[in-house]
């Protein structure tokens, strides 16, 4: 009946009777001064009923925007009361560790892993705001090995992270390589770095200025003594696809995902546990504050993985603030540092072969797509770090610092038309030596710190997650010896410096 009515005309029209729904006395013939009202009701009945149906369906508990008074946390359930491993931080490192923990566990569903993320929109997370490059041109063998293994992982990502009945994962990798330029001042460091990279198996070529000019005619080779160019396994990709792939696969393996903020740890220390040595604590519970609520859920756990990125230092400070009695925790020097990225359009700029170019001055840029858009920036010099309170972009920084340097190196950028957009993100900056921190906290042995990668966390995340999972499950890692990256060095006097930090 409805289908017929939607056509606009009633299939059956009662004989006689006037248009008004008053029923009442039958007239001899209908009074037709206007169109009959009864067919109006039927004409609108169909659309009205479908709107009502849509409104009702929107209220069902399963739909997106519905609020159900009986189950208000349906879309973001609270964390379970007991877990084996709590991963604090749902960025790419956190999900990578969760995935590898579930992949390497001996027995199916043998561990309960919970990932707690404070902001499910990832509005300030370093992962999604990252430029997404991957390179092996580091000076530390551990970094090179982690990057190489991550590149292999990304190449075979569908073998690892594919979930049945889903489309194949495409991280949109562009294998264009990194090009580091060095002046005479930095030439020796660059060449030493290339030697180490080649020993580790990375394919890097050294180019003289004339070779550079022959390969990339749009470069101005003034003040360039030598350049190193990555030939394979280097380029850039889409970080959001990688994060989603990790997340989806980890959840299909049984990892719990919760929205909440870890506010404090409840630990056994020498104060409340007889026999506990002084200066060391063992975390028993993690208090998770649920979103938009003062409610706290204590999660009992055996291991806590602190993978909160730029806020790892702050997390450990605030979470252990209550334990300061016998356990004076040394501050973890991992803090957020704001970095800008600018996107501009330059129609006459470098062509399809543009690598990720890093200038002698530290400014960098890469191509974005094939339509003449580029993105690039520079790390601000020491001492002139922007304020990290917000993610506002400083356009003057581009005008005064980035653009002159890039225009000097690539003359085509002098006629730069417009800055299309810009954004800011945080590096999880290790203020001690700008290298990743991987290992148990010396004073809280069951808190595993995974962060401080200072701009190369995303590219090392698959391998770093695997190393962390192996250290947690087996106690040692066969593939990469990361003893030197343990947190213990952060309070020593020997920084493990990395020469090639962008």
């Amino acid at each position: 009946m409805l289908r017929a009515v939607r056509g606009g005309r009633a299939v059956w029209a009662p004989r006689g009777g006037s248009g008004s729904g008053s029923g009442g006395a039958k007239l001899g013939r209908p009074l037709r001064t206007a169109a009959p009202q009864r067919s109006d009701i039927f004409r609108e009945l169909g659309p009205r009923l479908s709107r009502l149906g849509q409104a009702l369906r929107g209220q069902l508990p399963e739909s997106e925007g519905a609020w159900n008074s009986l189950r208000p946390h349906q879309n973001s359930p609270p964390p379970p009361e007991r877990a084996d491993v709590v991963v604090v931080g749902g960025g790419v490192l956190g999900w990578s560790v969760a995935y590898w923990l579930k992949t390497l566990e001996n027995r199916r569903h043998g561990m309960r892993v919970v990932v707690v993320e404070r902001d499910p929109t990832y509005s300030q997370a370093s992962t999604v705001l990252s430029v997404g490059g991957i390179r092996q041109q580091f000076s530390l063998p551990e970094n090179i090995r982690l990057s190489l293994q991550s590149a292999t992982f990304l190449r075979t990502i569908n073998e690892h992270l594919w979930v049945p009945n889903e489309p194949p994962i495409d991280i949109q990798f562009q294998p264009s390589g990194y090009l580091f330029l060095a002046s005479e001042h930095g030439a020796a460091t660059l060449e030493a770095g290339v030697k180490v990279q080649r020993e580790e198996g990375a394919k890097v070529a050294l180019l003289s200025p004339s070779q550079l000019k022959a390969k990339f005619p749009w470069i101005n080779t003034e003040n360039v003594a030598v350049a190193s160019y990555g030939l394979e396994n280097e380029g850039w990709f889409d970080p959001w696809s990688l994060l989603n792939a990790f997340r989806r696969k980890a959840m299909s393996l049984g990892v719990y995902s919760c929205v909440g903020e870890v506010t404090s740890f409840v630990a056994d220390t020498a104060d409340n546990t007889p026999g506990m040595p002084r200066g060391v604590g063992r975390v028993k519970y993690v208090n998770v504050r649920l979103p938009d609520s003062p409610e706290q859920q204590p999660v009992s756990c055996a291991i806590v993985v602190a993978a909160a990125g730029a806020w790892t230092g702050k997390l450990l400070d605030s979470a252990t603030a209550g334990l300061q009695g016998s356990l004076t925790l040394r501050r973890l020097p991992i803090e957020p540092r704001k970095r800008y990225v600018y996107v501009w359009h330059c129609p006459g700029g470098p062509g399809l072969e543009t690598p990720f170019l890093i200038d002698t001055s530290g400014a960098y840029f890469r191509r974005e797509g094939i339509a003449g858009n580029y993105l690039g920036s520079m790390s601000p010099p020491e001492g002139r770090e922007p304020d990290v309170g917000n993610l506002e972009v400083d356009h003057d920084f581009f005008q005064e610092e980035v653009w002159p340097r890039l225009a000097h190196r690539v003359p085509a950028f002098r006629s730069l038309k417009q800055v299309k957009s810009a954004w800011a993100g945080y590096y999880d900056y290790n203020a001690f030596d700008q290298n990743g921190v991987l290992g148990p906290h010396p004073q809280l042995p069951n808190v595993f710190v995974l962060g401080g990668f200072s701009g190369h966390g995303l590219q090392q995340s698959p391998a770093a997650g695997r190393v962390a999972a192996e250290l947690l499950l087996h106690g040692s890692c066969a593939a990469v010896d990361v003893g030197r990256l343990a947190p213990g060095r952060l309070w020593g006097s020997e920084p493990l410096l990395e020469a090639a930090i962008v």
């Binding site: 049945p164 009945n165 194949p168 495409d170 562009q174 380029g235 072969e353 094939i370 005008q399 957009s421």
Partner: protein, 250 residues
């Protein structure tokens, strides 16, 4: 699958879609199995096993012929590998192509070409992957490489072709469903390239890409990436931002 297509922004169904992991043979049976897999865990696990078996078979097909390489040299090893993949190979100074017979066996006459370099390899339609290229990276005089229609050759594999920078003159990656403009950007490492066949690739804006390829490789003839008939020259894809104000004081 739809998500991958949406990411790449394909306009029409002209290009063959990349092989879905659950097999290129999308018969009625495998479609029904997939639907069952959405409802039952057991079927999903079995589908996962089937996929792993497929991958293991592919890996074995692309094994590194290191033993033959140590015995007879890398040219012979490359030739043996190419023939066992169902391809053809041609040595320097020879006119005819060597290939395996219909049963997949190759004749031992190839072993006599111990020191003769391989100049042309035809692997069209084969199951070559990134790992299979291990067998070819030591070839120094390769001039002609045909990888058309290989379903597993992707951007990563194209990134390995830089080793042929001194010699490669003809390359074909036509109709490889996994090759995109990102992999084609690595071909600038082949300055001696004279003929590049990129027909039938799944790219956005083929016309623009052709122009960029011709700029990148000025001495090379690019075949196959024509702009479609009747397509108006499209504006380059925006980054999703409203028209921003231009940079002040520039």
């Amino acid at each position: 699958m739809a998500a991958a297509l949406a990411i790449r922004g394909l306009r029409g169904g002209r290009i063959p879609p990349p092989p879905h992991p659950t097999g290129p043979r999308r018969g009625a049976a495998s479609g029904a199995l997939q639907r069952l897999g959405e409802w039952f865990y057991e079927v999903e696990v079995v589908l996962g096993w089937a996929e792993r078996l497929r991958r293991r078979r592919l890996r074995r097909k692309n094994a590194h012929y290191s033993f033959i390489q140590s015995l007879h040299g890398h040219n012979v090893a490359a030739a043996c590998f190419a023939m066992s993949c169902g391809g053809r190979v041609r040595f320097e100074g020879q006119q005819r192509w060597l290939c395996a017979d219909s049963r997949g066996r190759w004749s031992p006459e190839v072993l006599q070409f111990h020191h003769v370099p391989v100049v042309a390899v035809d692997l069209s339609g084969s199951q070559l992957t990134y790992d299979g290229l291990d067998n070819f990276v030591l070839l120094t005089k390769l001039q002609h490489l045909d990888l058309s229609g290989c379903p597993h050759v992707d951007d990563w594999a194209l990134g390995r072709l830089h080793v042929f920078g001194d010699s490669l003159q003809e390359l074909s990656v036509a109709r490889c469903p996994r090759v995109t403009e990102r992999g084609l950007a690595t071909l600038h490492q082949l300055p001696k390239l004279r003929c590049l066949d990129v027909g039938g690739l799944a790219v956005q804006s083929p016309g623009l890409l052709r122009i960029l390829l011709e700029e990148m490789l000025p001495q090379c003839r690019v075949l196959g990436m024509e702009m479609e008939e009747g397509d108006p020259p499209e504006a380059p894809p925006e980054l999703g931002q409203p028209p921003p104000p231009s940079v002040t004081a520039l």
